[in-house]
Symmetry: C2
Subunit: 281 residues, 2 copies
């Protein structure tokens, strides 16, 4: 039997996801409209203020853990004693076993990334990225991909009601969705997935990461950090997203919708049923 | 004749907007695909490193100016002596007449905003926002709005080619587009518009701001900072975007597409041709 993963003390402080506001349409009709929640949440790491995230607030504990994980501020879940969210004070207090050393330097260098900056320490991360080796003994078939793309639609409950959110999923190579998170912040959704993976003791090295958002540099970096070899989006990509995908050797698919996709990098992990053809005119 | 606005020394270092990469689709066909550029640009204010923005690089000088304007780090264009972009070193050096005082404190408090954080000084900005009075002697008619929405489509050249960018426009209340900027970062596009407004000496108080992106808190804040009374998006809104729109009294329209829209706040500035009706069932 698998060992039960370590679990720090956690609050369970999810906020309601949507709220209703009134709007008037072009015909002068009152239209009650669902709106995605958006709340400031200030993270404190061992009583030191780190950052204020604007979040839907649906998975604040996993978000806090995933943020600390992806920013490389906490190295392992077992170093975390407690994660306590208090919406009264809009704060999340994370207590670790030993205070994080050198926090000031670690948080010092800010990069505002494309549309979705989280002040990642770009320089340090790029060095780390170049050392990462993603597994090559895993593969993804077309039918499994199409299954995953189809299933995502059923999970997007907040998007369907209110729009204005991004969704992320962690799935198996059989196309089964293991977790799905929506947030007003694209990065929050990724970070919350990273937090859940820690809490549930899930290894990313044979998984697929799906995002409704664009394939920018940070999305590829975060995926590679979690050792996930497949990154799928229904949107497009940016140039740096493509460059970093090439560097990491990740299998990156964009414009995945229905039974269509574009494979940009890492095609050796794809089990395509289609014959390899020559360039189309 | 209007006085020619002051202009600091500026480079003219626009990057090409798109690049081509190879992709393979689900039928195994090679599909050359346009990708939006994405480049790091580190801003230095009087030789002090401020931030690294990830940008399309299409309007880097206006972006740098607008960033400094919207972050309230430089108070007026005439304080700026020069803006010099050098892509070799991926840097933009801004020289001011007198060094910005108290920069460390001003840059100290970070908020990672929804999906699109630029580390805005949220607390300070909110105080400022509450003092802003937007003009009430301006109005926008339905037909003028529909004209604007229609015209935007013709400006979105990068989006049509490559996707993965957001667009912003500044328009008159007659629906004429004065400037249009696309960037991989939603905030970069807004900031570049703010920079162009400075450079061209354009007052925002009787203008319309259009964005392809969501109506989040920061979008409303930046619009109000520029004294623009109308904010239009083809996307949805978040709860804090709605709250701040109510506080500022801005006229905020979402889901604007074709001849449709939803008016959320500030409806007194709309000249609707439709009769005011009762709530729909």
């Amino acid at each position: 039997m698998a060992k039960k993963p370590y679990r720090p003390q956690l609050t369970d402080a999810a906020k309601p996801a949507t709220f209703e506001v009134e709007a008037v349409n072009e015909r002068g009709e009152m239209v009650p409209t669902a709106v995605a929640g958006e709340h400031p949440l200030t993270l404190y790491l061992d009583k030191r203020e780190l950052v204020t995230l604007m979040t839907l607030g649906h998975a604040p504990e996993a978000l806090a853990l995933g943020y600390l994980r992806n920013q490389r501020l906490v190295g392992a879940l077992k170093d975390v004693v407690a994660v306590q969210v208090d919406w009264e004070t809009e704060s999340c207090a994370v207590t670790t076993r030993k205070s994080v050393k050198d926090l000031k330097r670690k948080m010092g260098k800010r990069t505002v990334t494309s549309g979705c900056g989280q002040g990642t320490m770009f320089g340090n991360l790029m060095e780390e990225i170049e050392r990462i080796k993603l597994r090559n003994d895993v593969s993804l078939g077309d039918e499994q991909l199409f299954t995953l793309v189809d299933k995502v639609r059923k999970y997007e409950t907040i998007y369907k009601q209110a729009g204005a959110v991004h969704g992320c999923a962690l799935a198996t190579c059989e196309g089964e969705i293991l977790m799905f998170v929506e947030d007003v912040g694209r990065h929050n959704a990724v970070d919350a997935i990273a937090g859940y993976m820690w809490l549930q003791g899930i290894d990313g090295s044979d998984k697929v990461f799906y995002t409704t958002g664009r394939l920018t540099s940070e999305m590829v970096i975060k995926c590679a950090q979690m050792r996930i070899p497949f990154l799928v989006s229904r949107s497009g990509l940016t140039q740096m997203g493509h460059e970093i995908a090439q560097k990491t050797g990740i299998t990156m698919l964009g414009r995945a919708s229905g039974r269509h996709y574009l494979a940009f990098t890492g095609r050796q992990r794809l089990l395509s049923t289609a014959p390899r053809q020559t360039a189309i005119a």
